[in-house]
Symmetry: C2
Subunit: 239 residues, 2 copies
DNA sequence: GAGTGGTCTAGACCACGGC
DNA sequence: CCGTGGTCTAGACCACTCG
């Protein structure tokens, strides 16, 4: 039944021990796909622990997408366990410097304009209005590392109007001066245009990973940015 | 101080209420980047709740990448909050059917062979040995939806040798017969080859998103699969 | 209405790790 | 060593939701 490697001693089960025991039962189909698990209280009795401990174990299994829990409905084994992948999106300067490279930044274009429809698509109900567009390159050892096309909301962050974005990236300024409480992400492949290829220093029509991020504070739009990575860029996750 | 929208009433703070209050203080730089927070017990006293409740709030802030906690070291505001994105990787049949399409499957190639080096790179210390390679198309309304190039470990899952993979996808068989307890993911952009373009029914040299997954059970390799999506495929996440 | 999970408490002990 | 977070308990009440 699992070797209980997480328990401190036999008389006091840990939540990890309980979790592993239940996980094992799911893997062995003692609790098969779609099956209903015993009530927390019952399991607590079986394992000789408090109901809180079972709860802690169950929350972990739920976070991992193995079970579903509903008040009154009880706990159920998912028919198909969810595969959830968590990626960490790094701060660009930090990522570059952690690779032992010198970070650099170069402003390409800046103007106030009306965002095109495909950008507005990220904004939900947010009213259409002119925004500050900033296109810039992030460099590693003086070579292009990432290209970003960003739209900034001057209504939400008026201070941006006074920042010299040729010296400091909007990314960096925002990290230090404007927190967010919501972030939408979109990830897809993109064939670079001739213009983008020139800026990035890659072959024309190369395939690159695009990361689109839209951030908000208290339901007010801050910025939407489309980031083009180098063709060899990979996102890694271990579940 | 935040409007405590998560508290049931003023006399009994909820962990979400406490979390939001602390979050607000971080946003307002009452607890600035790199600062140390008061001990849990102290905060519990301030909020008039049990230490357990503060713990629950802190764990959530930690999961969201806003703070770091260490025994004896205390709780600290991260200099740069982590941006974590969680994506759900769907079961293919389910994903297709949820879009209202008919799911289909077509085996392209199957053979036992030695996996090439770039595939072995996903296997860590796992010994090199012949594996079952399966290339197949997943269809939506009879049109190509995804292409997968998969390597299966016959040592770990001998039963696979007897499965007719021209009728049922390895994906589906594995979901029903072989659970995993570890999954490594890798995500990148790829320019399709002429061969892949022909199979997928897309223009040659098109950019597509590739999802590589390697799964394990009790430290034994199960399978490694490289999935090519359609050019318009996007992964979405809301943090 | 009633069964089930979700949360809170007060107190205890443990484990990690900085000093 | 000893301060701090991590976990466990036993019991209580609450909130959601299914039948």
């Amino acid at each position: 039944m699992g070797n209980e490697s997480h328990s401190r001693n036999s008389s006091q089960p840990t939540w990890m021990g309980v979790r592993d025991a239940i996980h094992t039962r799911i893997l062995r189909r003692d609790y098969g796909p779609g099956a209903r698990l015993p009530r927390d209280e019952e399991l607590a009795g079986e394992f000789g622990c408090a109901r809180t401990t079972v709860q802690r174990a169950m929350r972990d299994l739920q976070d991992r997408g193995l079970i579903e829990r509903r008040r009154k409905g009880g706990t159920w084994v998912r028919h198909h366990p969810l595969t959830r992948a968590t990626f960490e999106i790094p701060v660009i300067r930090q990522e570059v410097e952690e690779k032992g490279c010198t970070y650099g930044y170069q402003l390409v274009h800046q103007a106030v304009a009306m965002p095109p429809l495909e950008v507005q698509a990220n904004f939900g109900n947010w009213p259409t209005e002119p925004m500050l567009q900033v296109q810039a390159l992030h460099l590693a050892d003086h070579r292009p590392y990432m290209y970003e096309d960003r739209w900034l909301c001057l209504q939400t962050v008026p201070a941006l109007g006074t920042v010299d974005l040729s010296r400091q990236s909007a990314n960096e300024w925002l990290v230090h001066h404007q927190h967010y409480d919501r972030c939408d992400l979109r990830l897809y492949a993109h064939k670079v245009t001739a213009h983008e290829a020139g800026l990035m220093g890659v072959a024309s029509a190369e395939a690159v990973l695009v990361l689109e991020r839209t951030t908000w504070i208290e339901s007010r739009l801050i910025t939407s940015v489309r980031t083009l990575t180098r063709p060899d860029y990979q996102l890694l996750a271990t579940t």
